[in-house]
């Protein structure tokens, strides 16, 4: 794969989450779409500000949970009814009350694993390279005490000069051009 060249985007650095959310909201309102916020911790409102409304982790978790329940309940039914029928105190082979607890356990297990791995997969992790780490201030601040907004060059509205001017309007600590 050929290495991409050129500008990945413009990275604005802020000191407070409020400034970041305000800038992100304004960028969204003025038509930017390809952008992302980078913060040391989850900031309420940041995801909504960049137009990220719905995450699919709950759906993945639900599907995982249902699969877990179906798998275990099906396995118990298969074992008890066809594969290895045992007479337990004269109860019917298909004794569903006894199947509920393991099926429930597997619901939790599958749902939990789906949530964890689904979240990682939907975040695009593991990711070995990201252009933003080319920016020194990002490397130092993004996990510490700085709040970043990156407007990406793939956005049709992106223009190196205009966008820089737009970001400067929010009085960020700095605006850095990030290379691929």
């Amino acid at each position: 794969m050929a290495l991409r060249e050129g500008t990945y985007g413009l990275l604005a650095e802020f000191d407070t989450p409020t400034q970041l959310v305000h800038a992100a909201q304004s960028a969204y309102d003025s038509g930017y779409r390809r952008m992302d916020c980078y913060t040391p911790y989850a900031v309420h409102g940041a995801a909504e500000a960049v137009g990220f409304h719905k995450n699919t982790v709950p759906l993945v978790t639900l599907i995982g949970g249902l699969l877990g329940a179906a798998a275990m309940f099906g396995m118990e039914t298969w074992i008890s009814v066809w594969a290895f029928p045992l007479n337990v105190a004269g109860r019917p082979y298909y004794s569903w009350p006894a199947f509920v607890v393991p099926a429930y356990e597997w619901t939790i297990l599958y749902a939990g694993l789906s949530a964890a791995f689904g979240m990682l997969a939907l975040c695009g992790l593991p990711q070995l390279y990201h252009p933003l780490f080319n920016a020194p201030n990002f490397r130092n601040g993004a996990t510490q005490d700085k709040f970043f907004l990156c407007l990406e060059s793939t956005d049709p509205k992106f223009d190196l000069n205009d966008t820089r001017g737009f970001l400067d309007g929010f009085t960020p600590v700095s605006v850095v051009e990030v290379e691929y």
Binding site: V43, G45, E48, P58, P97
Partner: protein, 432 residues
């Protein structure tokens, strides 16, 4: 929704007037009208049922247990939120206090159960056939019922019943009196003295929660379980405890969401706390099915002739239909609906779930009470009397609601002397 919360940048001011909005009077009027209509219907049914008002009395017990659950379950939750702390506890406090102050009415509701149901032996077979030897000779009762009445006489006797019931009402009354009194004093305190008040409430509540739980175990046995003297279950009281919290949470959430149409709750009840309470409801939905199904699974596995008839009485003869309804409304619907994070944040939808939960309490109580009686065990059938369950409890709960709304109007709707107050006035997105 999220966009909306983001736009609320600034800390809101506490409204100057914290008293309940005027429409609460309207609620009370409506509740009274519904109460009167359904009460008249219940009387008419009682006249035509031709069973000497027996179903009326059964339905009265049903209504009493639900109202008792709201009132004293409210007391338990009130004490619980003092112990756990949390912002939801501050916003839910005044509605819970209003629920607890309905105790006089609940005690009035208890009197027919105690006097007619127990003392005159119209509900409790252990009282009706207290002379079990003669009853056995006359073939009025079976040998195992006679044995159970004889064997459990140490607990199932009128002195025990009245002594325990009156003691529980008295102790709940004392707790309710002091918790309500100190709550007003706390708000009137010119110094905040936060530490002092927190310690005082924690000290009252810590023992109170434990005490109430034990007392509820005992009265649940006396008032409901002893309708069938043959059967016993050690998880029974705990199921009532969880069921009460289940119902009280639904009612408190409904109250707050309805009050949020106007000040002062409008600017103090944030979506964040509503979401938190929705999650707590979800927890109680799970805990409830865990206990109910756990008890069923253990008895089903044991398959012993002393225990299993209780379930057979409630499954066979069309009772399986009610058991299924109970399962659907008590667990399946609230569980699947409350799974959604969005639903817990949208008031109209969450209100529907709360109504389902309260209805489920009524279905569950019906399923617990009615099959205890010989004519109904393993035989769910249409009779005029069975409709008492659809009228009298509605009337009793409506009257109870009217009283609850009256109490709600008596005090400011938000407790002010609490460090959480500043936090619930903050915008929604401040805390990550």
């Amino acid at each position: 929704m999220a966009q909306h919360s983001f736009s609320e940048h600034h800390t809101r001011a506490l409204p100057a007037d914290l008293s309940a909005p005027a429409f609460v009077d309207q609620w009370r009027k409506r509740a009274l009208i519904i109460g009167v209509v359904f009460f008249i219907a219940a009387i008419v049914l009682g006249v035509f049922s031709g069973d000497h008002w027996n179903h009326f009395l059964r339905a009265w017990l049903h209504g009493f247990m639900l109202c008792f659950g709201f009132c004293c379950g409210g007391l338990c939750l009130l004490m619980l939120q003092y112990l756990t702390g949390g912002k939801w506890g501050l916003i839910i406090r005044r509605p819970l206090e209003a629920m607890t102050r309905t105790l006089p009415l609940v005690f009035l509701y208890f009197l027919p159960v105690g006097i007619l149901g127990m003392s005159y032996g119209q509900l409790y077979s252990w009282r009706k056939y207290a002379d079990w030897a003669t009853a056995l000779q006359n073939h009025e009762i079976s040998a195992d019922l006679a044995h159970a009445i004889h064997w459990k006489h140490a607990i199932l006797n009128p002195y025990g019943f009245w002594g325990t019931s009156l003691f529980v009402f008295m102790m709940c009354g004392i707790y309710i009196f002091f918790l309500n009194r100190y709550s007003l004093k706390r708000d009137a305190d010119p110094e905040p003295n936060v530490k002092f008040w927190q310690t005082r409430f924690e000290n009252i509540s810590g023992f109170g929660v434990l005490f109430y739980s034990i007392m509820l175990f005992i009265v649940a046995i006396y008032w409901v379980m002893s309708l069938d003297p043959n059967w016993y279950s050690t998880v029974y009281g705990f199921q009532f405890l969880v069921g009460q919290a289940y119902g009280v949470f639904a009612l408190a959430l409904l109250t707050l969401m309805a009050l949020a149409k106007a000040e002062p709750i409008k600017s103090t009840f944030r979506i964040t706390e509503q979401h938190d309470m929705g999650k707590l409801c979800f927890a109680f939905v799970m805990l409830n099915i865990y206990l109910a199904f756990g008890a069923f699974l253990i008895i089903w596995s044991g398959n012993s002739p002393e225990e299993i008839p209780w379930y057979l009485d409630r499954i066979r003869g069309n009772w399986g239909f009610v058991a299924t309804l109970d399962f659907i409304f008590h667990w399946l619907l609230p569980f699947t609906l409350l799974l959604s994070a969005d639903l817990k944040r949208i008031r109209k939808r969450l209100a529907v779930v709360c109504c389902i939960m309260i209805l489920a309490r009524a279905i569950d109580m019906f399923w617990l009470i009615e099959p205890n009686f010989p004519d109904a065990a393993r035989n769910l059938h249409w009779s005029v009397g069975i409709f008492e369950y659809a009228t009298l409890p509605v009337a009793m709960i409506s009257f109870w609601m009217a009283y609850y709304f009256t109490q709600l109007k008596r005090r400011p709707l938000v407790a002010t002397n609490d460090p959480h107050l500043a936090e619930i006035l903050e915008p929604e997105h401040v805390h990550a």
